[in-house]
Symmetry: C2
Subunit: 406 residues, 2 copies
């Protein structure tokens, strides 16, 4: 059997697997180390009571012949689709058609699978540093070219760094697709509506589309920061938006997400004719996916009840308080830090070493796990990501240990 040789071009292992590997080795060598994890972006707080209640109810329905549910609608149950339209979009003045919302088992799956709709030779732009899934999923499909030194030679990198205030430049060449994630993973930085509009306008002028990853929108605290790219004029023509309950409501182990594809978003076929991306995604999902677990969709629906909203907000506020503690703790110790105000991520400038060395140093001296910036792309070198998802106590303790870095 002849294999997809693109897999062989991929460097090392997936970032978080390498972090886990180094951590495992360290723990074997230092079994008594009290390690605090501010690395992988996993939540720590339990599902809120309203979600638990809804899930129990749905489980009971599954055990009763009269209320049992088999295969659900391929693109999600109406109760959840409508809750999303009514609660996540209508209040922003955004009207979505029913069939523009697609429920899935995770934003990672959606942002990883969406590239199947692109032409084999489509050109891809990514901000740099970046969530590795955008890059790796395109590399596996052969669109990234070859990995040479620290980058793929067929991807267009849009560097984001302290010098440009983490505002990505526009692509300098023609691209078909731009991946944007705001609030950003890994930098924790945001774009205003005006800054996003520059990309929307460019996409319209250049026949490109934008994959907008809004997985962290629940952490936005500043009024001028958009919660959806559709708050930007013209975005319905060019943008797909991927959202997730993982960080919003602690669903990392529960698995539910959704993606918005407006009917206006079109690509072009080989003859130059317009083709609706929405219809292509429907075909893709109906063919290779079979819907999200019914109790999980009911759990997600419960987030939109008044009690659910209040309970989830309280959890997010706790994480945001942690982010502030980390950010201020770093700044107080003379370490440059970004993000953490509309995001659970704090992006710090590594003092005088490369980012994997800082990973080892932080682990060894402070027993704190973070994520090396270099793992997110070439412009991530010299930076490091910390996350606000641990408990308040552990976060404060981790920050206190930063003193040992001096």
């Amino acid at each position: 059997m002849r294999i997809n040789s693109e897999y062989e071009k991929m460097p090392g292992s997936y970032l978080f697997a390498e972090v886990a590997r180094r951590l495992k080795v360290y723990k074997e060598q230092h079994p008594d180390a009290d390690i605090i994890r501010l690395g992988i972006g996993d939540v720590t707080q339990p599902l809120v009571p309203k979600v638990i209640e809804a899930m129990h109810k749905a489980v009971d329905e599954m055990g009763n012949a009269d209320t049992f549910r088999g295969y659900g609608p391929d693109f999600g149950y109406d109760f959840l689709v409508n809750a999303i339209r009514d609660n996540d979009y209508a209040p922003l003045g955004i009207a979505l058609d029913y069939d523009e919302v697609f429920i899935s088992d995770g934003a990672k799956c959606d942002v990883g699978n969406i590239q199947e709709l692109f032409s084999q030779d489509a050109m891809i732009a990514i901000t740099d540093p970046v969530y590795p899934v955008y890059v790796d999923s395109n590399a596996m499909a052969g669109r990234a070219g070859n990995y040479i030194q620290d980058r793929w030679d067929r991807l267009v990198y849009l560097p984001c760094n302290a010098e440009n205030g983490f505002i990505p430049p526009l692509p300098e060449s023609k691209v078909d697709v731009i991946y944007l994630c705001y609030p950003n993973n890994p930098t924790g930085t945001v774009l205003t509506k005006a800054q996003l509009k520059v990309f929307v306008d460019w996409a319209k002028e250049n026949d490109a589309i934008i994959i907008f990853d809004a997985a962290y929108k629940a952490f936005i605290t500043q009024k001028e920061i958009p919660h959806s790219i559709y708050e930007v004029e013209g975005a319905r023509d060019v943008a797909i938006e991927c959202c997730s309950y993982s960080k919003t409501a602690g669903f990392t182990g529960t698995r539910c997400a959704y993606t918005i594809i407006p009917h206006e978003v079109c690509g072009k076929n080989a003859k130059g004719e317009k083709v609706e991306i929405n219809a292509m995604w429907k075909r893709r999902m109906a063919t290779k996916f079979n819907g999200v677990s019914y109790p999980v969709q009911r759990a997600a629906e419960a987030i939109y009840t008044p009690e659910g909203k209040a309970q989830v907000e309280q959890v997010i506020d706790g994480y945001l308080a942690n982010a502030r503690v980390i950010r201020e703790g770093l700044l107080a110790r003379g370490i440059q830090a970004y993000g953490g105000e509309n995001s659970p991520y704090i992006w710090l400038k590594v003092p005088g070493m490369d980012s994997w060395s800082f990973f080892d140093t932080l682990l060894d001296r402070c027993h704190v796990v973070g994520t090396p910036g270099a793992g997110f792309g070439p412009s991530g070198e010299g930076y490091f990501r910390l996350t606000a998802f641990n408990t308040a106590e552990a976060t404060r303790e981790a920050v206190a240990r930063f003193d040992r870095l001096k």
Copy 2:
């Protein structure tokens, strides 16, 4: 944005979507018709008590900070992986390594995604008629060529019909991959170990691999029929096996499945070197998937308890009784019927018309929904699939209505 033009080559809509569309139209025109669904392969019996109990417990764990679970292992929790090894394989004399088992949210996803590991120009063989996902997922990736009249011109079809006893012939040309599904969907027929060994031997001799879809193994009643392809000597070298809880335990709306990839199964890269498929799948799943919902994995684990096994077996026995009623009801009315003995599917020879016409006739005269054989491939024309997943009462009533076909 330049799109993947392969999507445009695909004929009409996905089979079950077309069935649903015709049914919707008919119901609008005949709102009072008491329709019995023996069409889509969805289960009707609720989850068994042991599964419900385990799911409730897991939901409670998710609501408690001490027992909450965030991201699970990419390839599944050890408790479920080990339950599969110990219960589904060890009793058959098959020893699987821990990392040869991959938990997923559905066999449809696994059999749809596995083709990502194949070379762009890999040649694919399918039995005909066939579960459409094998075909469509390869067509979307460009391996099926063009759809001309009733078939793809780059796929190798292995026709299965009454004349050859539904035993597929070997491919007559070199192929990289053969998809086999036994007990078969849609024909309900099975292969013995000796018949399967012919394929395993051919794959070994021809550097091919087999994707073995065992989604219906729980329905096997005859001792000589293998529950796993690994019961066949040499299969570990060439076969990937996809299994599902959908039909085994009524998980169509709960979503859990697993795929086995032995370390011995290798493909060849462009240089002709051997590459482990297991390692490629690990990379694929770690990049584009984020694990199965924790309560769902606990639900699946409960199937393997003594009570869980007994409860699930009782449900399967009920479906098998329905299958017998349909099979015997058809035969008694002079309609040729196959399958239904080790399978929830009955495959009937359509009397004197094409299979979509029979769909319309059966719906109109008997108010019974089935699935037209032509929807499963060119050799399905002239046949029709009925399923045993409805209740005993509805099944008996549907069979009684077959009298109206005369």
